[in-house]
C-alpha cells in the first residue's frame, strides 16, 4: 500500500511572521507544520499495521529542507517536493493541482492531509486535490481502519461518526484523534539517509492558472475591548459576579 501525506514547511510559528506585499516571507529554514504531524501519525500507524510505504509530498521553497527532514524523522520513508519561483504566492487551486500531480507519481492509495496549514489557513486544498485525482474526500478524520474498504471515525459538531470509504481516497485529519509521535533518536539518525527528491514543475501536468490577485492586507481589530477592573480590595467580587452573569459559575 502506498500512503502519501501532504506536508508543508512553514516559518517557525515561535517567530513573528513577516509579509512582503501580502505574501509570507519564508526564511531559508522552515519547520514542519504541526498540523501535518497528525496526518503523518495516522499514516505511520497504517504503515505499522499494513506494511505500507509512506511518502511525503510538499510544495514551496525548500530552503534547508528542515521541515521535510522532520517528517522523515517521524518515520516517513521518502519525500518529494516541488520548488519553483513561478509558484510564489500560489493560490489553493494551483497548490492542489501541483500536489495532486505529485501524488500521482507516488501511485498513492490514500492521500492524507492535515486539516489546514498553520500559515495559510485556507483548509480547501484536500478537497481540491480529491477532485483532481477523481477520488472521494472526507475531512475531520480522527481514526482509520482498513479492511475491504476504509473505515473512518470522523469528528462532527455533535461528537463523532463512523464512515466507510473506498480503498482509494483523500482524507484530512483533525488534531486530537491521534497523538503525533516524538521522533525516536534512531529515526532522527536514519532520516539523514532517506531520499528527498526535487520534482521539476515542468515535468508535471499543470492545468490551472495562477489567478489570485492580492489586493491588501489589514490587521483585524479586536471585536471587543476587555473591561479593566481596578482592584481596591473587592475586585474578586466583581469577577465572581461577571462569571455568574456569563453562567460560567
Amino acid at each position: 500500500m502506498n500512503i502519501t501525506v501532504c506536508a508543508k514547511q512553514i516559518p517557525d510559528p515561535a517567530n513573528e511572521t513577516s509579509y512582503d506585499n501580502g505574501i509570507i516571507v519564508r526564511p531559508e529554514e522552515q519547520v514542519l507544520d504541526d498540523t501535518d504531524r497528525y496526518g503523518i501519525e495516522i499514516a505511520l500507524q497504517l504503515k505499522e499495521k499494513y506494511d505500507a510505504e509512506v511518502t511525503i509530498i510538499s510544495m514551496g521553497p525548500a530552503g534547508t529542507m528542515k521541515g521535510l527532514q522532520q517528517a522523515l524523522q517521524m518515520g516517513a520513508d521518502k519525500a518529494l517536493y516541488v520548488d519553483d519561483d513561478s509558484l510564489k504566492g500560489a493560490n489553493s487551486l494551483m497548490t492542489a493541482n501541483v500536489l495532486s500531480e505529485l501524488a500521482k507519481t507516488t501511485n498513492a492509495d490514500i492521500v492524507i492531509f492535515g486539516t489546514e496549514s498553520t500559515d495559510g489557513y485556507s483548509g480547501t486544498v484536500p478537497q481540491q486535490v480529491s477532485r483532481f485525482l477523481n477520488l472521494d474526500c472526507i475531512s475531520y478524520v480522527k481514526a482509520i481502519e482498513i479492511g475491504e474498504d476504509v473505515s473512518l471515525t470522523r469528528q462532527t459538531s455533535e461528537g463523532s461518526e463512523k464512515v466507510k470509504m473506498p480503498q482509494n481516497c483523500v482524507i484530512s485529519v483533525t488534531a486530537g484523534g491521534v497523538e503525533p509521535r516524538y521522533p525516536n533518536f534512531k529515526d532522527i539518525m536514519a532520516a539523514k539517509s532517506k531520499p528527498i527528491e526535487k520534482v521539476e514543475l515542468s515535468t508535471l501536468n499543470i492545468t490551472t492558472d495562477q489567478n489570485l490577485e492580492f489586493i491588501s492586507i489589514e490587521a483585524l481589530e479586536n471585536s471587543k475591548n476587555g473591561e479593566k477592573i481596578i482592584d481596591e480590595g473587592e475586585a474578586f467580587q466583581v469577577i465572581v459576579d461577571k462569571l455568574k452573569e456569563l453562567k460560567v459559575i
Binding site: R181, Y182, F185
Partner: protein
Amino acid sequence: MAVPYKAPVKDIVFGYEVIDSYNVLNKISEFSDFSEDIVIPTMEECAKFSEEVLAPINAIGDQQGASIENGNVTMPEEFVDAYKKFIEAGWASISLPEEIGGGGMPITLSGGTLEILSTANLAFGLAPGLSAGAISAINFHGNQEQKDKFLPKLVSGQWTGTMNLSEPQSGSDLGTITTKAEKQDDGTYKVTGTKVWITFGEHNMTENIIHLVLAKVPGSPEGTKGISMFIVPKVMVNDDGSLGDNNNVSCISIEEKLGIHASPTCVMEYDGSVGYLVGEENRGLNYMFTMMNEARVWVGGQGLACASGALQGASQYARDRVQGRPVGMSKEDAKKSTIIDHADVRRMLITIKSYVDAMRYLMYDNQLMLDLEYFAEGELKEFGEERCGILTPITKAWISDLGVELSSIAIQVYGGMGYVEETGVAQYLRDSRIAPIYEGTNGIQALDLMFRKLPLDNGQAMQRLLADVNKVIDEMNEGGEVLSDLAQKLKVEVDRLSEVTLWLGSKMLEGELVDASAGATPYLKMFGQVLGGYYMGKAAILATKKLEETGDEYYKEKITLSKFYIEQLLPLASGYASSVTAGKDDLFNIKAESF
C-alpha cells in the same frame, strides 16, 4: 505561573563548537562522521520533547511528589505517561553502545540532551540517569549471561536501574557497610541489609527495577577492599526473560526532601534477596569508580540545568514586571519601563547568563574528555584520561555550587514573587541544592582535586592544562584589541592560579597535608573560576570569527558575555588565593563547642 521552558538550542550548538568537539571526535574511528548534522536535529527534537512533555509536569512533580503506601511508591500519573513517551523516543540510550541497543553516539552528545532534559524536569531525569549507571556497571563488568538477561530491557527503558551504596552508618566512607552477601550452592548470593538514599529505588513507572548493590561477602577483607557488587532484581527474571517471583526487596520509606520531590529517595531493605555477583568478589568499589566520572559530570550538569532554567524565568519576569523608575529615566519613559531597565537587575541577569555559558563549555569539554578516555587510543586516550581526571571534580563541584547560587540570584530578580512557589523559580533553587551533596560531596571533590589530581604525573598534568590555557591567551593576543585586552586579564588570573598551585604542591611535598586540605575548597573554586575564563576566552575567539563571517548580532552578544565574565567575574579567582594559602590554623583555633 512558571514561564514555559524553551531549550537554548542555539547556545548549546555554539557550545559544541567552542570545545571543538567535531574535530576532536572525528579522530576517533567510531565518531568519524560526528558533525553538526547530528547535533542540531538531536537537540531540536530533544528540545521539542522536553518542552512539550517534561517541562509542563515539572511543577506537578514538585507539588505532588512521589508517595508511598504499604511499600509501594506511586509517581504522579503524568510521570508514568511521560516515562512511556520518553523511552519510546529513545533519549535514555543515545550514548550507549550500539551492540547493546544504544544509539552509539559519543557521551559528548548527551551533554546537550542531559542539559535540556534536566532543565525541563530534573527529578524525572534521575530515573534514566541512574539506569545508565547500572547499565554501565553490567556492561563493563558483568558476564555474558547477565548482559543478555538484564541489559536489553534496561537499555530500552522497560526496566530502570539503581545504585545502592550508602547505609545509615556509611555515607562518604563505604568501608563500613554491613550489608552481607552469602554464597549459595547454585552460585548466587543471598543479599541482606539496608540501603539508604536510593534514587528511584521503588516506583510504578516500570514492571521491574534492577538494583546494583554493594555488599560484603563473609570473610572478605576489612574496609573498602572487601566490597563486592551484586545485581539484585526487584522481581526475579526467568531464563526466558519473563518475570518470576518477588525477590524480597522492599522499600521501607521515602525521604521528605528539600527538592526533587518527584524523585523518590528510598530506604531499601534486602531480606535474603537473590543477588548475582558482578565480576569478582571484593572488586565492587573499583567497578563503581569506573562509572564515577561520568556520574559526577552529570551531577555538575544538574547545576547548569537549574541555573539555565531559573535564568529563563527571571529574564522573562524582568521583561514583564513594571516597577520603579530606573536611574536616569524620565517619568514618562518609566511608565513603559520594566525592571530589566534597572542596571542592578541587568547585572544579576548577565551574571547568570555568563556563568551558564562558562559552565556549559566546561561540562561539555569534560564529556569530550570522557569520550577520549573511553574510545580513543594511544596518546589521545592518555590525554583524555588525564584531562578528565582533573576536570571532573571541578565540573561536579564548581558547577553544582553555582547552580545553587545562580538559582538564588534568579529568585532575587523576581523579588517577593520569587519567594512564593507560584512563579516556579523557587523549585530550581530547591532542586539544585542536592547536587553539591550527592555523588561525592563538593568537599570530597576538592580533596580529590588536591590530593589525587594535582600530583598526577608529578604535577605535570596540571602544568599541561595551564599551558593549554596560556595557548588560548596567545591566540587571543593575536585576535585584535578587544580579545588581547581580555587576554591580559585572563593572564593575571592564570598566573595567580599557577603560583597557588605551586604553593600547594610544595606544602604537600613537605607533608603539611592538613594545611593543604584547609585550602582545598577555595582552590577548587579558584580553579573553576579560571577555567571558566579559559572557556569564555575560547568562546570570544570563535564568536569574533563568526561575527565577521555572518554579521549575526548573536555573536556580538557572545563576545559581550565573555567580556563580562573575564572582566567582572573572573577576578573573583584571585580573591580565593589568600584562603587557599592561609593554612589550617584559623580553622582549628576555635574550639568545636564554640561553633
